[in-house]
Subunit: 503 residues, 2 copies
């Protein structure tokens, strides 16, 4: 492969040497700044992945592309750490047959985060290389070309960005605050923690859809620009729409229900949900990703509850099986107990939850909604008693649910509705929906809703509607709570809240 | 199972008989209007799927839930067609041991599109039943209960809605115009054609993601509310955002590219794309679903073009294999040649396309963009010459592409950009993007773009950026063109255009 060296690097630019003419440099063809890759040619060179550089490749000559993670010059040698996604390897440029002192100096001056192509020989390391994922081997550099240079001043240091907070506090070492991270998200996303979080999040979406498609669901696409506010009008963003105005959908619910009325029977969708809530908490975003389910059932809404709960269980199991590396990587920075769940999922009635809280000293009414602290407390009580981080709370008071929630036939004060919780925080809210236009009208009146504004919604049920139930899951919350993180901004690539619209 | 009859139907309401007292009716427990299913109980009754009612089940007693598609009373008998999604079966209610004349009358009066539960015996039909999907059997009804009533006047008739246009024109029979369909979308979506279109569309999304995940891509979620218009500012919707204003993303491109700069290497996303274009054509929507890809490459953007083209080929093959029933169903209403494609995909250069057009008598300049009629003509010429409905046009003139398109190193007038076409219409536009901040600045200046407005975009490339390319596919167009349909509103469940914001 050495014969191919320099190919693909066009007119290499080499910094003017200060202390020696290029003529003196026997390695001058072996390093430099490549001209921009503009698809000039199609070399047949194979680039090996850093994670594949193991003892099995010892003494092989390979080409690798990666970022300069760190570099440290030491006499006639320069030690580089070459990073590729979550993996890194030590690379050594040393004065000798392949490298001149000018080449070593060149390598030492490459800015951190620059992308380089290296040709080198894989060698067994004399001792385990701490701090690298490839601990048993190092790369002896024969050629090095800069593919894309990073500016010398980075807005944050990757090593600081992955340091556990407790370590920063105890040892007084630097950590990176959240706004700096988010303002410089493309750097922050390069850390092993971020790489792992978002690979796992991609996995959640994949497992969600895989499971539902196996269960016979159909994926639907629902409009985000709508003519009327879906749930009453509060907390909705307004859009200019040609000569009129419109709204951003606060949930796909009406459309999911229309699909049920249109005989799709079992539907799901994955898409953005918009909430103009001025909430600056650890778990609210103004734009998040909803994993939504709606399903016609035969006789009882528990048929749907069981399907949703099993879908979440399949996600948890799939993550355990397929994303163990990512879970371990995140836990290095954010240590956390592994996520526990039962099969079948624990389902408690709301009144049972209230009783547990009262036993723990909480005072609350039967028809009162759960406050956030009470939700968390109940999560801890359930964990102690049942050893699970995931459970369902069923049969919420009718008074605290939206007008379209089906009342419980057995008790006028409760309803056929449910929430699901992970580590004591709500991740899904759902219910049997009223599919009868007459009862829906009555309930809307009871809630003081302007019938004219929801006419289209009510009319959807006038041409035969099957009984149905569903729910919506917040993707970022599932990722956050599964990994035991503490802020939903860590699990949104480019989060949006009342104060943040960039990047 | 008869012992379970009536269970789950609570206090059945039965219409007052006109000509006979209930006391005279020996079948009075065998029919009626069920009380609303409110999850009163969990009967262990199994509901059989209509599509599973075949000769294998002959003489079995079954429960089925479906819609009354049509009904026809004839003396002491009533013939119903019971529909479930794309499948239907004839059901017979006849005066005899199980049914009284009151029951037959009741059945005959059930409004079309009402949902009913029927208990019946599957019987071999004396002759093939035309017009039903289950041609070999019919259902002899023993009990019938209305689960959800449809209003008697339907806004459109399903049989009219699936009639091929040519048949309507030749025989003077009714068809349904597009606005009536879209205004009453929940009824229109119940037709076998609509059911098939959207099951197939769900399949396209699934195949797209399956293929890319197999190729090592990661799914990302990009924000739709953004602070600056992504591509200059024309055709963008404005959103009120608390005390300021924001925009709806016209494409996820900036965010896909940021993910590449953040080392995700190969990413895709599926989500809404918003275009405030006042275009009222057969192929423009103001909100559509983008299937977007972005990928770092080693040396040549054709590495990316090959991956995208192969992804589309895998979709085409998957549809052929898994969705043949749906393809056949749609072609009954909209006859069309099967979709043809080559492996590997045909890739022509733009100049070759222009030469073919000129040979066919078209006059156009080397750097002129393709008009829609020329695109279609070229599609026909390519089909004649190469026998494919899918091809790539590569190396577009630099002048007709956005500022961030990488110029062709070999020719200052062309660029490393490409479009892909299905049946002569563009479904994907893509390019190698400029990853060098200096060249990007130069090109933006050349296009007269305000550098201040795209500062964040350019800054994304300052900390080392790999060469990369990508493209965006319009989901509704792919569905439309694969099935040979003629309007993108047929393949959007709830389409949005300058004149339509509802339902």
């Amino acid at each position: 492969m050495p014969s191919a060296a320099g190919r693909g690097h066009g007119q290499d630019r080499r910094p003017d040497s200060e202390d020696s003419s290029a003529a003196d440099d026997y390695a001058k063809e072996r390093y430099g700044v490549s001209s921009m890759i503009q698809s000039q040619e199609k070399p047949d060179r194979v680039l090996v992945r850093v994670k594949d550089l193991t003892l099995e490749k010892a003494d092989e000559e390979v080409w690798v592309r990666g970022r300069i993670h760190t570099s440290r010059a030491k006499g006639k040698q320069c030690f580089l750490v070459l990073r590729q996604q979550q993996f890194n390897i030590q690379a050594l440029v040393a004065v000798g047959q392949h490298a001149s002192k000018q080449m070593v100096k060149f390598a030492a001056n490459i800015t951190k985060e620059s992308i380089v192509d290296i040709e080198g020989v894989v060698r067994k390391a004399h001792q385990k290389i701490g701090g690298c994922t490839q601990q048993d081997v190092e790369l002896h550099v024969q050629r090095i070309y800069v593919i894309s240079s990073a500016e010398p001043r980075l807005p944050l240091q990757l090593d600081d960005a992955v340091r556990p907070e407790v370590e920063g506090e105890e040892d007084g070492r630097a950590t990176v605050n959240q706004d700096t991270r988010l303002d410089n998200r493309i750097i922050d996303l390069r850390t092993s923690t971020s790489q792992a979080i978002f690979c796992l999040q991609s996995g959640i979406c994949q497992l969600f859809r895989e499971t539902l498609i196996r269960k016979g669901f159909v994926e639907i696409q629902t409009p985000k620009i709508i003519s009327a506010a879906s749930e009453g009008g509060a907390n909705v963003f307004t859009v200019s729409y040609f000569k009129t105005s419109a709204y951003l959908a606060q949930s796909p619910q009406l459309y999911k229900q229309m699909c049920i009325c249109a005989d799709f029977e079992k539907v799901f969708c994955v898409g953005p949900v918009f909430r103009a809530e001025d909430s600056n908490t650890h778990r609210h975003l103004t734009e998040f990703v909803g994993l939504d389910i709606e399903m016609a059932f035969n006789y009882h809404y528990h048929e749907v509850v069981d399907e949703i709960a099993d879908t979440l269980v399949q996600i948890f199991k799939g993550l355990q099986e397929r994303f163990q590396t990512e879970i371990q990587t995140v836990s290095k920075q954010f240590p956390c107990e592994p996520f526990k769940f039962l099969e079948p999922t624990l389902r408690l009635e709301y009144r049972e939850g209230v009783a547990m809280l009262r036993e723990a000293g909480v005072e609350m009414g039967d028809e009162e909604d759960l406050s956030t602290p009470n939700e968390k407390l109940l999560g801890r009580l359930v964990k102690e008693k049942y050893d699970t981080d995931f459970y369902i709370l069923d049969k919420y008071p009718l008074a605290v649910r939206p007008f379209y929630t089906m009342p419980d036939p057995a008790n006028p004060k409760t309803s056929n509705s449910y929430d699901m919780f992970m580590r004591g925080e709500e991740i899904l809210s759902g219910a049997q929906r009223i599919h009868d236009p007459q009862l829906l009208t009555e309930r809307a009146k009871h809630h003081g809703i302007d019938l004219e504004k929801i006419k289209a919604y009510i009319d959807s049920f006038r041409f035969g509607a099957p009984p149905h139930a569903g729910g919506g899951i917040g993707l970022e919350r599932v990722t956050m709570l599964y990994l035991g993180l503490h802020n939903v901004r860590q699990t949104s690539m480019f989060p949006r809240d009342p104060k943040r619209l960039t990047p």
